[in-house]
């Protein structure tokens, strides 16, 4: 029998729908995809190597450059991991803990809005993009008000936070929560029953619960297939067990169900933020652990120990006792894990990152075959990749 002749098509790394520099080598039988081979590494910066040559604090801005659509989540994932490594989790002031949860959830909404806007624009619904980015701007203004940065925030510190909330911030955040729930209704009005949207997403890129386990998929992608794995619920951290929220699940594991899951997740994030604002305690935003957290500015001029600690922390950083931990947190795209190894020095001996997009993207090899070439754009959108996250 004659071997079937397929067309090999190179998609990316500069294709507008690949959101970064993803290259896919496709084998096509007419319009049908036979196989797909992703090629990675165009954005590899060696962040794990850089981490081994920095103090724990110096590494925070680099975590911004992992998933740059959710910098705050990456910052927090790392900070929580370092605190677990040092064993100081219980000493974080309640105010800092609560603000962190608010920031993590704002970051989740912001990342989901970027996903929603670009995913919809990619498959034809450009209007949604404008709507989604309008609300995303509100979130970035909240970030800017609190730390001066919109995207690469570098806001949390080991032991607490860099800055306290400015005056009027809580009211502004409440206003956002109030407006945003109505805006989600608006997005859903544009898409949920839209015939074109349904035709482009329903039954496209189906993953069963068994596929989720086989391919190591996490986050909204796993939950779209009905796998109730959310780190916030399963292995609570940072005080998430004190909040009341639901884990939305899909049934069919297709792109449409993943869309519904993410929309419901944004509503749940608003619920968490509102609960956190209601109970936001006063008090310090940075723990007082002399060898680890910087002393208050007022003390530096009058207390010699404070001056010495300040000097040592700024010049050399703190020492981490020998330990090895893996800390998982629920980033917008899935499980974000930091595997830290300390050898007693001031720099991590090893800082490995488990980034959610990496494992999630792998499943495209399973989802693509049998579908149309045009569905590749849907698949890239529904996985919600960030190449800076994947390539590290």
């Amino acid at each position: 029998m004659e071997k079937p002749r397929y067309l090999t098509l190179n998609m990316g790394p500069q294709h507008p729908s690949t959101h970064g520099v993803l290259r896919l080598i496709l084998e096509l039988d007419g319009e049908r995809v036979v196989s797909v081979k992703p090629v990675l590494g165009y954005l590899h910066r060696g962040i794990e190597k850089l981490a081994e040559n920095m103090t724990f604090h110096q590494f925070i801005p680099l975590t911004d450059r992992l998933d740059y659509t959710a910098c705050m989540s990456c910052n927090l994932g790392y900070i929580w991991a370092v605190e677990r490594l040092l064993g100081i989790e219980d000493r974080i002031p309640p105010r800092a803990r609560t603000i962190r949860v608010i920031m993590a959830e704002l970051s989740r909404i912001g990342a989901h809005l970027i996903w929603l806007g670009s995913h919809a624009a990619d498959i034809g619904a450009v209007t949604v993009f404008i709507y989604a980015f309008r609300e995303r701007e509100f979130i970035y203004e909240l970030f800017e008000a609190v730390c001066g940065q919109r995207m690469t925030v570098s806001y949390p510190r080991v032991g607490g936070l860099g800055f306290d909330l400015p005056e009027g911030w809580v009211e502004k955040c409440r206003e956002f929560c109030k407006i945003f729930v109505q805006k989600v209704d608006e997005y859903e009005k544009l898409l949920t029953k839209n015939r074109v949207w349904i035709a482009r997403t329903k039954g496209v890129g189906v993953l069963t619960a068994a596929d989720v386990a086989e391919w190591g998929v996490t986050g909204p992608m796993a939950r779209g297939s009905g796998v109730a794995y959310d780190v916030r619920r399963v292995i609570p951290y940072g005080g998430y067990d004190e909040y009341d929220f639901e884990i939305p699940l899909g049934e069919n594991g297709d792109s449409y169900d993943r869309y519904l899951v993410r929309m419901r997740e944004m509503r749940q994030s608003v619920r968490i933020i509102e609960q956190a604002l209601d109970r936001l305690p006063g008090g310090p935003i940075l723990a007082d652990i002399p060898k680890i957290t910087p002393p208050p500015k007022a003390d530096i001029g009058v207390r010699i120990e404070a001056l010495i600690h300040h000097f040592l922390l700024a010049a050399e950083g703190f020492e981490a006792p020998p330990a090895e931990i893996y800390f998982a947190s629920e980033a917008p795209k899935g499980e974000l894990g930091f595997h830290l190894v300390a050898d007693g020095g001031r720099k991590p001996f090893r800082c490995a990152m488990r980034v959610p997009s990496f494992s999630n993207l792998q499943s495209i090899v399973k989802m693509a075959p049998g579908g149309f070439l045009a569905d590749m754009v849907t698949l890239i959108g529904t996985i919600d990749i960030c190449l800076a996250d994947i390539d590290k």
């Binding site: 590899h44 386990a213 794995y229 931990i325 998982a328 499980e335 488990r354 399973k366 390539d391």
Partner: protein
């Protein structure tokens, strides 16, 4: 936190009963670690994944740690997440030989595929039986493995 600690302690005991020939340690936050031999490694991972009471069905992460002072300097660490217990566990195995080699998990578990390729790319650890044993990030003709401890951060420091 104490409920979590009790559960993890119980899990350590359960793993000790399940693998009496292997050392089961706990990390500083209580997560169980199975220190597997190369012969038992694949079997341990399969048992953790398929045992109905454990069901560590999500392979969260696989990487290596380079400890140049050790006789077998490359340690491969696999992180597994259970879908029935609220728990994560690790399996560790040392790579041996030249090039350092461990058996591949990707041969029977697709989730390990890219993680093993990344570990090969960054550390030069080989995974025997891997279906697609290539570098993943660096160019194919690169002759270095940057996450090895002897690899300099800025150019040639030698």
């Amino acid at each position: 936190m104490t409920a979590q600690a009790d559960m993890q302690q119980a899990l350590v005991e359960k793993l000790r009963a399940l693998f009496p020939d292997l050392t089961i340690a706990a990390e500083s936050d209580g997560k169980p670690v199975v220190l597997a031999t190369r012969e038992r490694y694949v079997d341990v991972v399969k048992t953790l994944r398929d045992d109905p009471a454990l069901r560590f069905a999500i392979l969260s992460h696989l990487t290596a740690v380079h400890r140049p002072q050790d006789a077998e300097p490359f340690e491969v660490v696999v992180r597994l997440t259970s879908l029935t217990l609220p728990a994560q566990a690790a399996v560790k195995v040392r790579a041996a030989g030249d090039p350092p080699t461990v058996p591949s998990l990707a041969a029977f578990w697709r989730a390990a595929n890219w993680h093993e390729r990344e570990t090969f790319d960054m550390f030069g650890v080989h995974f025997a039986g891997h279906p697609d044993h290539r570098r993943i990030f660096l160019e194919e003709d690169a002759d270095f493995h940057p996450l090895r401890k002897e690899f300099p951060l800025n150019g040639d420091e030698g």
